[in-house]
Symmetry: D2
């Protein structure tokens, strides 16, 4: 088991540093015979791409994906798919002054302690830049799942700082994408944009919450007891930079309910010829397996650690220093984190899907 790999049946191995020549991934276990759509792949890349709008980092990357193995004549071979994404717009000099300074909220110090040698350019391995390859991998997983199931995953920004969008039951990709912050509730979206612009001009940053809905799962996806659907999803998503919490269904609110209020009664749905639940407090997962109802997750993000405002910290000589960020960064990562969350969910779901095709 590699610490830069994730998955059992569909194994993603991540590599690359922020200012190296490439970031990338190897996808192993991807079935043969799927015709890959490069357009759909690039579409997902564009959603995560820096420089999309005034609200995001101005690093300019086209993020064109190079698939260097595992695909032949446009179709997957069943062999490992290796993906490269060039790092083009690197300005490593912006980071020279950070070479020996430990930025607050960043892991520079811990990389030094753990490894003794660190790539200080653009955050090196700890940069969210490496998630570009995850989005590419997730886009392939999405194409595969779309091809043979009705699984559909939508994530959106449901909170920025104190602005909370009202709870939403159904949402379309278009509603999400029509908002610059990927919040499908127009009023909240507008307020969020104002808030982010304000934070940006103050040299500050904001956190928030992403909600994610997985629809169209069959019943019984998830592997008891240490491969529970929620634990697998959690494992993928908690490895995403800036995530500080995850919950399923009613989540932390479930703590306040009584059993008679929280329990989802089973009902027979004649129209579908199968059993479902009357309510969905459990968020589509019971006993670690999908119930067939939508899986609902909420994911908490801390505010971006890199801020322009002056901060006090220490350097490698243990001296107190003042710090003002010069590197390009997002005042709020959430809009660009939406496609990453979706990608991680597609990868997690496909991993479990490959394990029990016959049983479900």
């Amino acid at each position: 088991m590699s610490r830069n790999s994730i998955g059992k049946n569909l194994v993603i191995t991540s590599f690359g540093e922020s200012h190296g020549s490439f970031v990338g991934a190897v996808i192993d276990g991807f079935p043969a015979g799927l015709s890959i759509s490069s357009e759909d792949l690039q579409l997902e890349m564009n959603r995560r791409r820096p420089g999309q709008s005034a609200l995001t980092t101005q690093r300019s990357e086209t993020d064109e994906v190079q698939i260097i193995s595992g695909v032949f004549e446009g179709k997957t071979l069943g062999t490992p798919i290796a993906i490269l994404i060039p790092n083009q717009d690197v300005r490593s000099d912006d980071y020279l002054h950070l070479k020996d300074v430990y930025r607050p909220g960043h892991a520079d110090l811990l990389y030094d302690v753990k490894y003794g040698h660190r790539d200080w350019r653009g955050g090196g391995r700890s940069s969210a830049r490496i998630t570009a390859a995850w989005v590419a991998a997730g886009a392939l997983a999405k194409q595969w799942l779309n091809n043979q199931s009705s699984v559909n995953i939508n994530a959106w920004v449901s909170q920025i700082a104190t602005i909370k969008a009202p709870s939403i039951v159904a949402v379309t990709r278009d509603e999400i994408e029509s908002s610059a912050v990927r919040c499908p509730h127009p009023e909240s979206s507008n307020q969020m944009i104002v808030l982010i612009e304000e934070a940006k001009s103050n040299g500050d940053s904001l956190g928030g919450k992403i909600t994610c809905l997985i629809e169209g799962l069959p019943q019984g996806l998830g592997e008891p007891v240490f491969g529970k659907l929620n634990a697998i999803l959690g494992q993928y998503i908690l490895n995403l930079n800036a995530v500080k919490g995850i919950s399923f269904g009613d989540g932390f609110d479930a703590a306040e309910l009584s059993g008679s209020n929280h329990n989802d009664e089973w009902i027979f749905r004649e129209e579908f010829g199968k059993i479902g639940t009357r309510t969905n407090h459990s968020g589509g997962i019971i006993g670690g397996m999908s119930t067939g109802e939508p899986v609902k997750m909420e994911i908490a993000f801390k505010p971006t650690s890199t801020i322009a405002k002056e901060q006090t910290t220490v350097n490698a000589s243990f001296e107190e220093v003042k710090l003002q960020a010069k590197g390009r960064h997002d005042p709020c990562v959430l809009p660009r984190a939406v496609p990453i969350v979706e990608a991680l969910c597609y990868l997690a779901i496909m991993d479990l899907w490959l394990e029990s095709p016959a049983k479900l």
Copy 2:
């Protein structure tokens, strides 16, 4: 990778059904040479044991651990430690009426869908009974870590239904254990007890929140990028029955802060001769690695699914039926979940510890 195993270096393989002859676990990767204290082991078992008080299930189990391999003359051999815990007080007849009924909040239906054959006695494999062996394994991990580090893990009940104990920075094991619900804040504890008794007499159940503090970690524990400390802890804990959410540090509250408020400034702590953080909003984890500050987690539990109150559900013939639980159960699982959470954390920490002994 087995779906009933967890860990890379310290691998726990879980087995057993609620009403089988035993539940158990095999622990592989446990270093040789540790003298095992059976008393300390049994102490942890007693904290999880059913029948501790009027607030818990009346199933009576002594939960005496049988170690059948891997320990010789009281010391670990470095070979797999196999643990058996007998299931003695089983009353399978209590479950006969549930053989073909799908209990709300339980995974009976999903086991039927996924496996086609199900042990309906006491919930079978989906029962929290199987966590008895996890506590035993965790107790051994605790002994090993205590033997060579200052790692100390304390979990406690911080919320039952709407009763929330005030935020606590430091807490002792005695303060936790002196409360029947394992809430170290006496006033809240009393209110929680009243609430649980009330729920019990109403045939209902309650959820809540457990807070867990891991102190004494070195800097740099956790493996970028898919073995982040928070993701590993999350993976272990999200596999625990009834858990619906987990957060680290300020968790979901971090979403509301700005970067300048959330960032933990690095400071040099002269008294310890090392760098720490002035605040601990990040909950002791940055970039997936321990900062050396206490790791703080909050874990949301749904209310117990088994309730005495009448509920409507369906049976295996798709007919609507009324259901009233007869099996013994906890009106609130949180007090007994405290030692399980601690055990899972000890196992997760030891797994990572074994990976980087030289580096830290």
Copy 3:
């Protein structure tokens, strides 16, 4: 990945010491719904059981398998199957004189070096006693494969010391079992028996070779590139005590052939409606995948390390000592190794089978 586990989809976790209370295994990933035949299971156990004949160790074990989880009402649940086999006829005192002596050919010294603490009774963890649980696990894999395929695995003794049985193309279980040494060629069998009896009376021991034939595989079993069928089989079998070599098809003799002699030409077999090979020099595996022709392996075993003859060695105080074995042991392990080899092959094949059910 646990070092006492093997397999990806069907994961066997082994535990136990020779003179502990039990040896055992946990089998994870075994599909639900198979009716287990205890008789067939016990039959395989009896083939490996000590005390079968005058040629084997006189340790007397009934080796009755206790299945303590994963099977309910005689059918597998899809949950981990935990197997216990009691160690009954232990005479640990026979080993007291070996407590501090490093037996030639045995790993006592290396366990001391590696672990610092060692169970010296009956060889502890290094004893072939632990393979009893492997045979039980293999017997279940056999039942599962028999239930849905025409896979058939037969191993037999093809050489003891200098007695080599003529090469055999087809063989029945009965022909193998009718020989006390499990050599289906009667004349060779008789010579082998004489040789073993002679070695026994001399206080010496013998090695030999086991041939194994796997018939009825579909084409394409085996996973390029690091899960090649031969590598997987090799991984399982090279972990078996006393094995010093393994080869496939023409094996070491292939080294002497030219390409035009060794290449197996593909032919269309009209009667089966599929492609096969005219010859089978490759032993049923090309490019790491099954060709559909019989897989043929040869496995070399060193002579039993425990001998009654006096030997010179050193003890834990680095002093030269004379040693004469007192513990019970086999003068030649091969007859009892036959069912173990078969069991390991069934486990390896089932592991791969579970990975590509749809593709083959």
Copy 4:
């Protein structure tokens, strides 16, 4: 666990097809802080490189290794090392006539059966071209082991067809490299060269045997029971193209010895202050762990499957066809397999080394 990955602590993930843009590998778990010598790396590449001499394939590749992550300022970062090796001299048209023909000894048919879609250019994924990246990875492992241990691995050609070099106890790298076929016994080397040239001119190919010696191991390397040193080495090497067998120590000859002849008596070696064995029949491994004596392996290779001689086979329409190879190929792969065998051994040893640094 990915089927294109190998290792537990040092995980190599292989990717690439013979005529794709690159073959490559990701190395995860490689410790930080090692200064990489590009010269030493390229030296190993050159030993495997095609076009070395008249005896090898005339495909011309410089095999310059591109390290695109995990190394910064010439030193390893502790993050994944991704390696690319361009495929430059591809002549895919040479393979056009093989698009629908199943070459004898090759896995074309089996890829078609298993995956339904196949890269027929140069053998695609099944080509030994992909081992270029293994050699690069092994060269890094060698540098790491050389830096902190006295481990030394030498492989050489000990047999080509019927020419067997006399058994050798010690050998130097220079002696091996001074022979065009990497056989350190000059007389045998000359005979082998003649034989290979003859086979080449006949349009035929030859197999043989490689001997490999691992010196300088500490005692106790290898993990009982399913991570035995011989099983780990076997797992790596049996995944190498054309390997049909592997043996350790006396190997298949051990089958003919009696215990009193085969057992290696333990002796105290005063000059080293530690225990060793008087003889080394076991080939440096007992009970799956290194004894501290040299580990000796013999590896059987079948003759190259691609031959110029006309062969009969079938095509994808099940018709019998005649076939004469046009692609470039080696009449005997063994000389170029020598550095691959060494690389695989370095990777296997380093994987185990990382697991027990403190214990040994």
